[in-house]
Symmetry: C2
Subunit: 124 residues, 2 copies
């Protein structure tokens, strides 16, 4: 994949995390991830379209109205890519959560996500 | 793996990059990586002990006397870990190269390294 295609894939990936319409979200999940993709972050490990879609839906219900945005450059080589993402509360200028994902690609889709957290909300 | 064991594994991994005695380096490679581990960074993809060992030897001959050191905290969850490393020229205080690796672990050894570069030397 060239850099433009990789960046588009990352943007579609984040769009999936923002899409709350169930049918459109599932379509994005199937477009962006390979069928048996594995998504892992510190909280969850999800395998395959059904579970990944359910994981995204669960995160959306925990953070209603929040928006994921790309947090910096997209760095790719071979079949892998890394990027930071920011999660914004409605109307906020500062991200509530900052995460960092490395993804392995396979034939233009994501085969695996290795997700980490750079900033998490402080519990009062 | 607990955090201490993961940190020890990362330190042994960097020790492998620093070990120039061929027999000791190969022993470290076999200790640290699973037999069919895949190592990928922007320059190279190496599969298995033999090729990984040869890759490390090639890097050592490109950077004689240089030392790899852990560059920050070791962040681990599930079967994955991320960390930054610094490569120092002999006697240097500032790293010549800064890299960032995500590794997937399997039964206490590294199954896969997804390596990226954060700082590369400027070519004059």
């Amino acid at each position: 994949m060239n850099d433009t295609a990789t960046r588009t894939l990352v943007e579609r990936y984040l769009q999936g995390w923002n899409e709350t319409d169930a049918l459109r979200r599932r379509a994005l999940v199937e477009e962006v991830y390979a069928e048996h993709a594995v998504y892992t972050d510190p909280m969850v490990q999800a395998c395959g379209w059904e579970t990944i879609d359910a994981t995204i839906a669960a995160v959306q219900s925990m953070f209603p109205g929040h928006v994921f945005r790309l947090g910096g450059p997209v760095d790719a080589h071979h079949d892998m890519v890394r990027f930071q993402w920011h999660l914004f509360a409605p109307g906020a200028d500062e991200p509530l959560v900052i995460g960092f994902d490395v993804a392995q690609l396979d034939d233009g889709r994501i085969r695996q996500v290795l997700g980490f957290l750079d900033k998490v909300p402080q519990v009062a």
